[in-house]
Amino acid sequence: MKATLIAAAALAFGALPWLTDSNYILGIAVSAAIYTVAAAALNLIYGYTGLLSFAQLGFWGIGGYASALTVMTFGGTFWQGLVWAGLINAALALVIGYPTLRTGRHAFVIVTLTFALLVTLIARDWVDLTRGPLGIPGLPAPSLFGFEFRTTSRFYWIAWAYAVLALAFLYALCTSRIGRTLVAIKQNEPLVRAQGISPMPYKLAAFAVSAAITGIAGGIFAFHLKIIDPLFLDFYYMQTFLIMVIIGGAGSFWGVVIAGVALSALPELLRFSSDFRMIIYGFVLLIAMLVMPGGLAGWFGQRRLARMRAALQ
């Protein structure tokens, strides 16, 4: 039942280009697919493993720059660019993750935060490579076996296919034995050690997978925008991913996916000025953390528990 429902939803999203010609709606749909994947990747490291990573913003930016530079500077294809985006990010995640994860959660949060800022500064200041604030405009449309993804409705296929693949992979990972081990590490690390499982490889792997998926998402999104500049590393993206995870419910796979799709569409429909939108995001984050730290999924879960308790009496 659940599997049919999910497959139907995925196919319905895939059919979107036949339902509408509006580039505006399809543009939002591309963002929704990409943001949802990035939020689900953040959910893997924060929601499941319990490690709050701000480095996602850095991975997102590095992914964007890696794929753009592969095409524009090194003469590769879009697809090779995505492979590099994934590989570079996974390697970086291992290099940062190993020294940081030895120290505990506090240091991890702060180091990942500083990493995100560092990537922004490098994008702005390493002018020889990234062309600094001017950015790299005119990213060409990707093509596959002679088929060019020139229009937004064709590009949407790439975003959709990636979202389906990445979410399926993350779902398989999160519901497997590995996913349960990650949750156990989050809940009680000493107990996991006592069971004879070393948490470090699990944490590192979760961080690297999350980095690679976020990086490829960034690479696709850069080609959707057709330009990459330091604004690609605006803290706005990190806040968007975080709010999706927190509203959806950290540690709830479908909660975050639904929140990702819903929250991508919402700000577009409401059409605020950017300052105003950020103020609202700030309030949403603040209030969600104060009132329902478990997100919507946590809130529904608690209600279900309360009903079950009431039924027992």
Binding site: T100, V109, V111, F235, D275, F276, M278, F283, L285
Partner: protein
């Protein structure tokens, strides 16, 4: 960019060193506030950079109102930041328990977004130039020149650290703070109220932050985003110095100020900005708990 020749000119080096120390002292004011809050509450205040920005904006408004007099305007900025700190503690931070580290970050992150964009909305993102009674005059020793605002900013920071040392070491107020940081249960048993102590720590830390903002305002341009870049560095400094370790944070901050200025004098700007991150990763590799960690919060 004009390339300076690599042969080291001693006067240039001294100039870089002096600039590095003044900058480092101002970094230290921010990092010490974070270390103090972490020591007492085990949380991180993400909105600390915005409090610095509030201090700098208060300075920029108070100066013209007070006839460009430096010290009264600085006092006004510190009081403004402390009031903000008190409000933040009472409305948000007081609800957090010590083990809720991630929650503290996300709540104060939300606050920081709100403050930053409200200020940007009200006063625009254009940088403001702040003029004081000292203008851009400076002391001249040989061919080395430092503006008065830098000298006074550094002296104010040193004075604040001296005051903080006396406060933490020799008053009941400070002893209670150290007691909570060292052993929460034992402190409770001898009748110390964690809530009051935490509030004092937050207000003290935001006062230091207001001082840093006020001192920075005439040195660099005041923008709504000025706190963001500084806070990232301050976070890294707190890690390098050892979480919750105040002298560690000061040493790390001055060290970073020096390294950044030396690197900035000779290499591309990207290296200067990257220095703090490389330093942090190296320190974490060699000493996972920070350079100077010796248990709970220390003052000397």
């Amino acid at each position: 960019m004009g390339r300076r020749e690599m042969s080291v000119d001693p006067i240039y080096l001294v100039q870089l060193t002096l600039n590095g120390i003044t900058l480092g002292l101002l970094y230290a004011l921010i990092a010490v506030g974070l270390a103090l809050i972490f020591g007492v509450m085990q949380i991180i205040n993400f909105a600390h950079g915005e409090l610095l920005m509030v201090g700098a904006f208060a300075m920029s408004f108070a100066l013209p109102a007070m006839g460009l007099l430096y010290w009264p305007a600085m006092a006004a900025a510190i009081v403004a930041a402390m009031i903000c700190g008190l409000v933040i503690y009472e409305t948000l931070l007081a609800r957090l328990r010590p083990e809720e580290f991630e929650r503290s970050i996300l709540i104060t992150l939300g606050l920081s977004i709100i403050v930053l964009h409200v200020v940007q909305y009200l006063f625009s993102a254009n940088p403001r130039l702040v003029d004081t009674q000292y203008g851009f005059d400076g002391v001249q020793i040989g061919s080395i020149r430092i503006t008065w605002t830098r000298v006074i900013g550094a002296l104010a920071a040193v004075g604040a650290f001296a005051l903080l040392y006396v406060l933490l070491k020799h008053t009941q107020f400070g002893r209670a703070m150290r007691a909570i940081a060292q052993n929460r249960e034992a402190a409770l048993m001898v009748g110390i109220r964690p809530r009051v102590v935490a509030r004092n720590a937050v207000v003290l830390a935001t006062g230091l932050c207001g001082l840093a903002g006020a001192a920075l305002a005439p040195i660099q341009l005041v923008t709504p985003g000025m706190g963001q870049f500084l806070i990232f560095k301050a976070f890294a400094l707190v890690i390098i110095g050892g979480l919750g370790n105040i002298p560690g944070a000061i040493v790390a901050a001055i060290g970073l100020g020096l390294i950044e200025n030396w690197i900035g004098g000779f290499l591309e700007i990207a290296w200067q900005e990257g220095a703090v991150f490389v330093l942090m990763i190296v320190v974490l590799f060699l000493r996972p708990n920070g350079l100077f960690t010796r248990g709970a919060m220390r003052v000397g």
